[in-house]
Structures are given as structure tokens and as C-alpha cells.
């Protein structure tokens, strides 16, 4: 029983990471209708920033998260304004292909700068854990989960309590109407994309504390963000949070499949995803568009 509890806790902790990764992805997809294939690359940029600050300036990884956010915000804003905006209203496939190209460029540039070496951020407290009987809860992973929840709260506040958020939501609902009531479309687009990138950067910072980073490490995270958004449903912060936690749980529990069945963990996770899609296309908590 305690073994099961331990698995559930680890699943939720992993899920927290997925929440952080998927929030920005979901925002950009929901508002701009862009499936950003470079999202994982943004995550990796954030991870490398945290690593660089940790390795050279001994900055605590959690203190570097705001720096990741600002840097990625700037990158995201510039990319949207300069490049992606040009095909923002073209069919979905075009933004798909464009961001695929951007991903290729970012990964290659990262490879030139950082080489293919495996980097990892291991602060002194990395191995500590809260012991509850036979159950261990690693502090650093709990901190990651807390950051993920904080991100979700920030996003909710931005969207529901600020003028910028109102503009962004208006754009998501009806672009033309938003423009009519005086929303600067290009600015609103770029802000949305920038916020999405900033969140990806923070997620990358968290990830660097428990995963090894390489320039190509981002692609799985794009795929997982995809899965989380589908699982939870598009269009609500709470849906992304639920989807992320659930996906983490599924992955970890699938690893407990008996015998060598754990090798099927990925297959199980994606099979669940497909089943959810077929049975409930709007996701578990999503609204139908």
C-alpha cells in the first residue's frame, strides 16, 4: 500500500513538471491556434540558462527561474512579431511547418553553443527528501511542483484579472471583434506567444534539476505537452493542470505494470491519450470550441 502511495506521489510530482511544460503550450494553442513545435526547444533554452548560471555563477536553480522567464519572454516576443506573425492566419499546417523549422534552427544553434555534452544541475540539497515512514518525498521535486502551481495561478490571474489578459482572451474568442474594440492585434499575439515561451523557460529551469540536458532533449517535452493539453482539454488553466497531473500519474503507474510490461509505459500513456480523444474529444475538463 505504501508502495502504491509512493508511486502516486512520484506521479503527481512528475505531473507537476508536465503542468509547467504544458501551460505555455496550451495558451499559445488555445489563443493563437498555433501548435508550437519549438516549445520543447524553448524549454531546453530555459534549462541551459539555469545550468549556465548555476555552473558559472553558482546561482541557485530556483533563483534563476525569473531570469529564464524574462529571457524567453523576449525571445518569444521577437519570434512572434518577426516571423510567426507572417503566417498567423494561414492554415494550421503552415504554422506547424514554420515552428518545425524554428525548432531545427534552435536545436542546431544550441548544439553549436553548448555541444552535445550532458549537463545537469545538482545543488547541494538535491538529494534530500522528506521521510514519512517508508515514503520519500524529494524536496526539490516538491519545489518544482510548487513552481508549476504558481505558474498556473499567475496565468489564471493574468488572463482573468488584467487588461492584457482580457485582450488576449478577446483575441482568442474573436480576432476581428477584438480588433474592432481597439485591441492591438500584433501586440496581443506577440504577448501571448511571449508568455507561452516564458513559461516554457521556467519549466526548463525546473527540469534541469532532475534530468540531463542536451540540445535535443526538448522534443519529448513537445510531445508530452501535446498529450497533456489533449488529456485535460483546451481553453482552461485548470484543465491543463488536471491533464498534466494525470499524465504524470499514468506514466509512473504504467511503469509498475507487472514483469517486463513496464517497457510498454510509453505505449500505455499514448494509448490512454488516444482513448480519451476518441471518447471525449474536448478532453476531460475542456470546453468544446
Amino acid at each position: 500500500m505504501s508502495q502504491f502511495t509512493q508511486q502516486v506521489i512520484l506521479g503527481l510530482l512528475l505531473g507537476g513538471v508536465y503542468v509547467a511544460v504544458a501551460l505555455g503550450f496550451s495558451l499559445v494553442w488555445g489563443i493563437l491556434n498555433i501548435v508550437n513545435l519549438a516549445h520543447g526547444a524553448f524549454v531546453v533554452i530555459g534549462a541551459y540558462l539555469t545550468w549556465t548560471l548555476f555552473a558559472h555563477l553558482h546561482l541557485d536553480p530556483f533563483l534563476s527561474l525569473p531570469i529564464d522567464a524574462v529571457a524567453l519572454f523576449v525571445i518569444g516576443y521577437a519570434l512572434q512579431r518577426g516571423v510567426i506573425n507572417r503566417v498567423i492566419r494561414a492554415p494550421v499546417l503552415f504554422t506547424f511547418l514554420l515552428t518545425f523549422g524554428l525548432n531545427l534552427i534552435i536545436v542546431s544553434v544550441l548544439l553549436v553553443i553548448f555541444t552535445g555534452d550532458f549537463r545537469s544541475v545538482t545543488p547541494g540539497y538535491s538529494g534530500r527528501a522528506l521521510q514519512l515512514g517508508s515514503i520519500s518525498i524529494p524536496y526539490i521535486r516538491v519545489a518544482g511542483l510548487a513552481v508549476a502551481f504558481a505558474l498556473a495561478a499567475i496565468l489564471w490571474l493574468i488572463l482573468n484579472r488584467t487588461r492584457i489578459g482580457a485582450a488576449i482572451l478577446a483575441v482568442g474568442a474573436d480576432r476581428d471583434a477584438a480588433q474592432l474594440v481597439g485591441v492591438d492585434l500584433r501586440h496581443a499575439y506577440a504577448l501571448t506567444f511571449a508568455i507561452g515561451a516564458a513559461f516554457a523557460g521556467v519549466a526548463g529551469g525546473i527540469i534541469s534539476t532532475f534530468q540531463s540536458i542536451t540540445p535535443t532533449a526538448g522534443d519529448p517535452y513537445t510531445l508530452q505537452a501535446f498529450a497533456v493539453v489533449i488529456l485535460g482539454g483546451l481553453g482552461r488553466v485548470s484543465a491543463t493542470v488536471a491533464g498534466g497531473l494525470l499524465f504524470g500519474l499514468i506514466e509512473v503507474l504504467a511503469q509498475s505494470a507487472p514483469g517486463l510490461g513496464s517497457g510498454y509505459a510509453n505505449a500505455i500513456a499514448f494509448a490512454v491519450l488516444v482513448i480519451v480523444l476518441v471518447v471525449r474529444p474536448q478532453g476531460l475538463l475542456g470546453r468544446l470550441a
Binding site: 540540445p215 535535443t216 511503469q255 517497457g263
Partner: protein, 410 residues
Amino acid sequence: MRGEKVAGVLAAAALSLAACGTGNSGSSSKGDPIIFGAAVSLTGAQSKEGGLTKQGYDLWLDWINQQGGIVVNNVKHPVQIKYEDDQSNPNLSATLVQKLITDEKSQFILGPYGSAASATDAVVAEKNGIPMVEANGAAQSIFSHGYRYTFGVLSPAFKYLTGVLDMAATLSPKPATIAILSANDSFSVEVAKAIEDYAPTKGMQVVFNKQYPAAAPDVSGLVSQAKASNPDIVMNSGHLAEAIAINKAAKQLSLNAKIFAYSVGPSTPDFIKALGGDADYVYDGSQWTPQVKYQPSFYLSVSDYSKAYEKKYSSSEPPDYHVAESTAACLAFQKALENAGSLDPTKVRDALVKLDVMTFFGQLKFDDRGINIYKPMVVEQIQKGVHYTVFPPDVANGRPQYPTPAWSSR
């Protein structure tokens, strides 16, 4: 710092003396260059390992050309290596090997990194009748299909962690239970299977054996399951990224085993850099270490090899075994060409079949499938951030620190 420089200069001087020595001895004339081709991963997921492979090839290339080249039938042929980047994509690797053979006129192929690319390239080599010596695909499955032109210098997968069990059997108190976490790629599965088969013969029992998808995002769930089985030995057959992640998770979840042994990862500097003090006490099965005591019949001695590496790549770290095994592939070709006395691919292939030579990397000799089962693997342990070879005792320069203390008391 200064000491290192002086050592470097001395090594360089020694090298150039050696070069002069052999350079003057032969009265051979100068022939056309011999062209080797290699499609290694310089970008993509395996760019790190691909880069190490290229370093190993280049190290030999510099040396052989300092000697004036390979002596074939009393003619000295300088050597060129043409590189292509397979972007860690095995399907691309096949096309590039064909390009190396057709366009770049490569006469011989040096292998890529990884078992999938090696298998794909083996087929191309076979179809072209061009010998390929590979140094980085340890899965045996490649060699059980009667391919005639593919040879592997490295010890096959099943040897990776069985050495650790041999060592464990000599320790006291003797560990009795094993947990295996293995990636589900061909190489890692072969490693895990070998442990399972071998453990009972050493009086040990595998109490936990699970696979995870290659490049799993998070292994802490598996680590906590392994902890529940309370093993004396924790083994991972996988890759560097997972070795780091498993070690971190083991500490976080206070999985205290007497031995932590990982197939791939701990031998690289990245592992120690990533984990710091937590990397201590970790064992790995290694194809080669800079401490091994082989008496080579040609090329550099083990210590000169390390020096040459540190000089060429301005590295403070000795070469990783990926580098050494790649160099060994070149040595196999060099000796086979010398023995064949011909550049004809079939004759060189026949010479590879008969090859039996001692190098800094160990014995190079192939069984009838083309696998080098004759070279032993060694067991390394990280002690205070430094690699020590701890088994087998006749090549070791350190003793195993056993048992690994509990995480809470480190």
C-alpha cells in the same frame, strides 16, 4: 598547471622521436593515400558519443600520418578519413555510407555510433563488399546473420556487467540480490539478459527486473519500486542520461544498495560533473580504462595513448573508452592491411578474419561471427571523483570500496 604543460611537451617530444625512429627505418616508397570513410553522429541525440568516436579515429589518423602512413607491401600509404554526419538517424547513415564508398572513394569503412546505425551500415558494407570495422555497436544481434564484411573490436554487450558480478562474488559480505533497470533498446536488453543468466552461477538472485522505454522522462517510479525489493546490487543497463537520473533518484528515495553499477555513463567525465560527490562508489563495466596493463605490440602504450589524447584535445581528463575503442577499430584495419599486403577489400577482409594482435586496447581477435569475444572488460569505480580500475585484480590500480555507505551517512 605548469607541470601539465611540461608533461605535454615531453610527451610531444617523445612522440616525435618515435615518429622519427620509424620514419627512418623503412626504405619503403610513398603510395597513394588510403581512404577510410566514417558516418558518425555529430548532430542529433547521439552527437556526444559520435564526437567521441570521431576523436578516437582522428587520434590514430594523426599518428599514422606522422609515421608516413600504413606500410602495405613495402609501400607507405598516407591515410585520409572522410567524415559524414548521420544526424543520429540510422536511415541517413546508410545513404551516407554509400556516398562515402561511391563519391568519396572510401576503400574501408569505420563504424558509426550506436547499434541501429551499425546494423544498417553493416548491410551497406555487405552489399558493396567493403570491410567495416565498428567500435560502437555492442549488440550481438548484428553479427548473427552471416555478414562477412563486418567486424566489431569491442567486447559484446553480454560482458558489460557480468564482470561486476565476478567482482561482487569476491567481496565480503557477499551481496545476494540484484535489481535490474534496463532500457528497452537491443544493447541494453542484451546486457540485462546476460545479468539474469549469469547471476545464479555466482550464487546471486535477480529480485527485480524491469524495462523502461529508451529515453524515459523519469525513472524515479521504477527506482522506488526497486527499493521495495531491497536489493544488494542495483544495476542499470541503459545510457548516460538515465544513469544520472537513476543515481539522483536513488539518493532522493534513499535506495541504499551495496553496489550501484551502470552499463554506460559513469566512465564519462559528464557523469562526475553532473553528480559531484554523489558519483562516488558507482561502478561501471568498461571496455577500457587508462589504467589497464596491456603490452601492445604496436602503436602507443596505454599511458602514451592517454597523453596523446590529452595533448590533442587540450583535455585534463584521460580519454573515455568510446575514444579508445574507436582508435582500436583503426588499429584493426592498420594491422589487417599490413598483414594482407594488399589494398584489395576481400584480402583485407580475410586478414581481419585471421587478425590476432595485442594493442593498448587489449587483444584484437574476431570469432567466426566477427565479434571480439577475446578481450575482457574491466570494472571501474569512482572514488572521490576519480576513476579507478578495480577488477580484475591483475589490471587494477585500486581496490573496490565496498560496501557503498548509506546515502544518509555520506
